[in-house]
Amino acid sequence: MIAPLALVGLIALPIIVAFYMLRLRRRDLPVGSTFLWQQLIRDVEANAPWQKLRFSWLLLVQVLIAAIVVLAAARPFSAVESDLAANVVLVVDTSASMATSTGDENRMDLARERARDVVGRLPVGGRITVVAAADTADVLVSETDDTDAALEAIDGITVTQLPGDLTDAFALSSALAQRDADSTIVIVTDAAGDRLPEVGVGAPVVVERIGATDANQAIAALSALRRSGGAQLDLFVAVSNPSTAEATRRLEVYADGALIDARDLTIPPGQRSEALVTTVPGGARLVEARLAGSDALITDDRAFAMVPADETTRALLIGGGNAYLENALALLPRLELYAVDEDGSADAIADAAEAGTPFGLLVFDGVVPDEPPQLPAMYLDPDQDAAFGAVGDQIENPVIDRTDPDEPLLRFVDLSTVHIGRAREVELADGMHAAVETTGGNPLVAVGEVDGRRIGVIGFDLGESDLPLQVAFPLLMSNLTEVLLPAVEGILPSSMRLGESVSVAVDPRIERVLVTNTGSPELPGATDLGVEVSVVGGRVTIPGADLVGLREVRAVSEVPELSDLPLGQTAINLFSVDESDVTPGDPQRIIEMGRVTSTDEPASQPTRAEWWWPLALAALALLAVEWLLFHRPTRRSLGRAFRRRPRRPLPLAGRAR
């Protein structure tokens, strides 16, 4: 029994019997004569408060009802087989795609319901850990056998706007599972593009997959580019349709809150449609794109972008000359491009420094300088070791591996159709990380910071691939330039992803900074509306945002000129292809993260099947029987009240009273 204390209620049974032995205060009922009744009833003259207990069906029924109610309250159960282990780690996906909601489907509600069902299937004496997982994992209750606490925690789970990443959740689950060999990891998820760790866990994984709809469209890209001269802006918007049906959506564009453009976009299934808006005023600071109407996921129907400041950087291209590369770099509005061969590069750099117009970026195409430059540098097809790492042999026909959708370098870049004839083996130095790799793990595109200098590497000759012929090339070059020359608006970059944190330097006199989020508090999961962060040693770490919109940082200081000083603004967007594709995914890839059991059938465990509800039904039925059998006068008077008809007059005129 789950609540054996309820058996104290059995004390009600002797009390009921005592009531039957106690002489009751009875209702007087006049009768013509008790002549016949006296022959039926014995002991009628007893005046004592107690009388001899006689058998009564009514007493039997009432005692039975009381016993059943007490038994039900004690929550008896029987052991039945369960597919769960004694130690269950329950992970509930709270990533943005779980906010999917249509008329008959609310994934978060379904997830909570499925999680409650898992708690109900917990084996006898089993323990459960409840984890809410979005981009990180949050343990709500840890290894408890209190199912009520687990249910309460499940009821408190809410969806976020963050992209899904089960790496943390798996690491945590693995650690918990290692304490008990008899563990099961249950993941309640829509399996819609959550990132998974590279190594599995040492326990079986059970996936409770939810969701059915795929009817969603998303703003997949929003980028504001200043044209040459800086007087006007071009706004690039891409709308994706991951669903299986063609969709027509109205795209609305706002500049500093004012509607400046609206157009209908028809997007084929599985593709995306792009729009270039050229009517954005040059003085605009914040632009927003919206998809009018609603779909399954509204979090990705809005996107924000800060307009870059009007500034340019002088860049020097060193190499034998590559028309595609030169064109791509020359088109970037932030760059003022110069080109020189390898031999004249040192002089050109020195001359520019002396003239007071130093270069801000060096691009080495197929060459590597003897001395590492003290500037941000981009290397294409390097033929020898440099600051970025060591260069090895050539690789023939490398195949590009699956790319990280959250990698800033690959923002809006689709490399799925790119072919490379030959690349170089590269072993990256500390501080560098690969953004694009071959299936064999060799870096093809990498960025990083070595000795305080930003470095980018493209490990193959552009002439040996079809990349320069594709739309991805200028975008990749643009992104690479953004990474190497981050556009800083105050202390914050112009654009950040949901959940991304950043550590920045501020005036040491500032004690704290106030971080506020504005833009879309009505979207699901909007909770991070404002937080104060302390400044330590002149640096402050701005925590990751969990809300799409505009993020603003202001100073909090007792110095009058610093008080409430705006320090920076940034746009926060989802821009997650995986989260916007709300189509429920294949759970097999998650299941395969778990330990492969030696038998085909999962080991079953005894669990509890509670009996309280059939007992409650039985008590109700007995109550009905008692009323039908023992309250007949009441029943009849009720019946007469409904059936009352005028009485037939007597045939004789006799009885006039």
Binding site: R26, R27, G32, T34, R636, L652, A653, A656
Partner: protein, 296 residues
């Protein structure tokens, strides 16, 4: 409400139907006056009964001269005398009768009035009495339809203020009654001395008919789960738990009791009729009592 304010017991049509009936008298009895019933006495009717030898002083008009011519002996012809009979109608007026819906005493008054009128219309002597309080209160025997109003007035007088004592009242009536004939007892017999009362009345050489009058809720009681039954007559209370078991036991006991009374009365040549108080009077007289040969 006084008796004079009561509406007439019966209407004209009903009285005319009543006059077509008469109380059955299965025994020949000796009446007090010449009437329409055959008497055990020899008298002046046209129905020959017997011969006897002539004795001095006999009416010579009764001599059978034909017999004298054949046998040369004088015989006197005897004829059946037609005399009236006395109809005794006894109404139990104990408080137990003042109960029920319809009221048992009211039903008894109406039945007694109808049966009394039936006797008056048959030129019988009708004696009506209320039994209760250990005594019998009646009116002088009456004869002829002209006395019907007087009969009705007597039956309409307020009653049911008496205690039980059915046996004592019956014995008192039996000891002072005059004349024999049909005797109709209308009672619920809810009295411990009911058998004594029936025995005394059956011992009067009258033809006893018992109209056992019970209210509907005495036949089919509806008792709440916890009730205290208060006797309308004695005030005595009985505590019961009105479950189906008790009600069933009551039904069985009631049936046994009725069978016991029926058997007792039948053994003494009488008729036993169970009468619910809600039975229509016309149904009682023209159907039930006729089938039980109480009236014909």
């Amino acid at each position: 409400m006084t008796a004079t304010q009561r509406a007439p017991l019966f209407d004209e049509a009903f009285l005319r139907r009543l006059e077509q009936l008469e109380l059955a008298s299965r025994r020949m009895t000796a009446g007090r006056m010449k009437g329409e019933r055959r008497s055990v006495r020899r008298g002046q009717s046209v129905e020959f009964a017997d011969y006897r030898n002539y004795a001095a002083g006999d009416d010579l008009r009764q001599l059978d001269w034909n017999a004298y011519a054949r046998l040369e002996k004088l015989f006197v012809k005897l004829f059946v005398e037609e005399e009236d009979v006395t109809v005794h109608i006894l109404v139990d007026a104990s408080r137990s009768m003042d109960y029920g819906e319809p009221n048992k005493l009211d039903a008894a008054r109406r039945a007694a009035a109808a049966l009394g009128y039936l006797g008056l219309a048959s030129m019988d002597r009708v004696s009506v009495a209320f039994l209760g309080d250990g005594s019998a209160t009646g009116m002088r025997p009456m004869r002829g339809k002209r006395r019907a109003l007087e009969l009705f007035r007597f039956l309409s007088e307020p009653r049911a203020e008496r205690l039980t004592g059915l046996a004592a009242a019956a014995r008192a009536y039996a000891s002072r009654m005059r004349g024999t004939g049909p005797m109709l007892l209308i009672s619920d017999l809810m009295d411990p001395g009911y058998l004594d009362a029936l025995r005394d009345l059956a011992g009067t050489r009258c033809q006893l008919s018992v109209l056992h009058l019970l209210a509907p809720d005495e036949l089919e009681p509806e008792i709440p789960p916890d009730a205290r039954l208060v006797d309308n007559e004695t005030g005595h209370a009985v505590e019961v738990s009105g479950d189906d078991d008790l009600v069933e036991r009551y039904r069985v006991r009631l049936a046994e009791w009725q069978a016991e009374i029926g058997s007792f009365v039948s053994r003494r040549g009488g008729a036993y009729v169970q009468v619910p108080s809600d039975l229509d009077l016309a149904d009682l007289l023209f159907d039930l009592l006729r089938r039980r040969r109480v009236v014909e």
